[in-house]
């Protein structure tokens, strides 16, 4: 049996939930497939207050933003939310296959929005496979979703927003943090997050990296060292940090498998943290009717993921002929919001990445120009 739907949204994180609500707002019927048993994506573990403006619920904690987006989706009769539903493939004939509660399902959508998010990156060093070496997001899941204290004493690698935020949340869960080390000469995350953990006494060591991790059955400690201006290890600068957990917060990478498989034109864009589908200003990929929104189209903040989701949802529903005037107006508003979020110094990297992505689109043999 094939299940028909107007718009299929893959992923119920900030981008997917916002996409579904926006498309349904214009009148389209939407099916969301979420592989986890609950919607919300990574918002379910974000206990900190979000930045951005009121339009993106700034000042509210991520967990409550997640509940709000989820509530709006659940209350909307135009939207069907399917959890425990992993999308397996997008095929040439437009069929999307799904593993739902251990059963194989076929879906035939008119439009598809890929909002699959991202995965945590890993780091190469001797001993990096020891139990106790976890993604920072993994530790966040254990403590903020399950309520399990995942460690006694942690060394955090990476002073980007995730490293800084998870450090603060570890302290809130009663875990000791030995320090935050960062290979770059500067703190990459927001400085207010950095100052918060400094005030709690956690040192931040820039120009430092992991040399090796050691332990018999699980992590017992880490050797770290300083880096010179060229990013090379300085001999003799090694120190040992005793810890049972090493958190890696060394960046995210877009989860683009479905985009690759669907045949989207892809480009490797450093500023967007990996391979991303080339999208136009409505976030439509080179495969007509297939949109990509949120971290899958480039790693950014949850606030912009929500706006991207909304934009893709509006564009997809608008292209099906739903309330074209309203769609046009709302699309312009969403684009303006994105532009505002990205207008400052911290948005410069994303803007540069998006420009390179568009450039890559133009040079791809003229098949798809955006």
């Amino acid at each position: 049996m094939i299940k028909d739907t107007e718009i299929l949204v893959i992923g119920a994180g900030p981008a997917g939930l916002a996409a579904a609500s926006a498309a349904a707002f214009l009148g389209a019927s939407v099916l969301i497939c979420e592989r986890d048993d609950a919607p919300g994506g990574q918002l379910v573990k974000q206990t900190h207050k979000f930045f951005g403006s009121e339009k993106q619920y700034a000042g509210d904690r991520g967990i409550y933003i997640g509940r709000r987006l989820t509530g709006a989706v659940r209350e909307n009769p135009q939207i069907e939310l399917m959890t425990n539903a992993t999308v397996l493939g997008i095929y040439d004939d437009g069929i999307v296959t799904v593993l739902h509660d251990n059963r194989h399902l076929k879906i035939r959508p008119q439009k598809t929005i890929v909002a699959t998010g991202a995965a945590e990156k890993f780091l190469a060093f001797p001993g990096n496979d020891l139990p106790g070496i976890y993604g920072a997001g993994a530790v966040q899941t254990l403590m903020n979703v399950a309520g399990v204290r995942p460690a006694e004493r942690v060394l955090m690698v990476g002073a980007g927003n995730i490293g800084l935020i998870v450090t603060y949340q570890l302290l809130q869960a009663g875990v000791q943090v030995a320090g935050v080390i960062e290979a770059a000469p500067k703190i990459g995350g927001y400085l207010v997050h950095a100052s918060k953990i400094r005030r709690a006494g956690v040192p931040i060591l820039t120009r430092h990296t992991v040399c090796e991790a050691f332990g018999t059955d699980q992590l017992e400690g880490v050797r770290i060292c300083r880096l010179d201006d060229q990013g090379q290890k300085i001999p003799g600068s090694e120190e040992t940090v005793a810890c049972d957990t090493l958190c890696l917060a060394v960046g995210l990478t877009p989860l683009t498998e479905l985009c690759w498989q669907a045949g989207c034109e892809m480009a490797w864009i450093r500023e967007l943290s990996g391979h991303v589908p080339i999208v136009d200003e409505n976030l439509e990929t080179s495969v007509p009717g297939l949109y990509a929104a949120g971290d899958v189209s480039g790693i950014e903040e949850a606030s912009s993921a929500m706006v991207e989701g909304r934009l893709a949802g509006l564009a997809a529903a608008g292209s099906l002929g739903y309330r074209p005037e309203q769609a046009k107006e709302e699309i312009l508003a969403a684009r303006a919001e994105l532009a505002e979020l990205r207008s400052g110094p911290t948005g410069g990297k994303i803007m540069a990445g998006l420009a390179r992505m568009r450039e890559a689109g133009k040079t791809k043999g003229g098949v798809f120009v955006c």
Partner: protein, 103 residues
């Protein structure tokens, strides 16, 4: 260890159940994943690698990677970071790549 009090969060753990890790009883809750319940019990070594037999723990905890594969009720390669605990469940360290049962 479980977090008893948290400045921001309240935890709905579900009901308490007993499952078995390598045959030994472990206390867990129905809203916890197997990986979370094992961590609460101080168990972090979830398996050993197929070739070099090095200890393996979880990495991503959201079902992206395959670091936390275990054998659950006889089924190999179960991602215990996204599989909830059930009463009486038998969770075992997986040796090698696991064999899929064909009924």
């Amino acid at each position: 260890m479980r977090i008893e009090e948290h400045p921001i969060l309240d935890f709905d753990r579900g009901t308490q159940v007993t499952f078995y890790f390598n045959g030994k009883p472990v206390e867990g809750y129905t809203n916890e994943t197997i990986a979370a319940a094992l961590h609460a019990a101080g168990i972090r070594v979830l398996g050993h690698s197929p070739e070099l037999h090095r200890p393996r723990g979880l990495f991503c905890a959201i079902g992206n990677c395959s670091s936390c594969f275990m054998t659950v009720d006889g089924e190999p390669n179960v991602r215990v970071c996204v599989t909830k605990v059930r009463d009486g469940m038998r969770v075992e360290e997986q040796h090698g790549k696991g064999v899929v049962r064909v009924d």
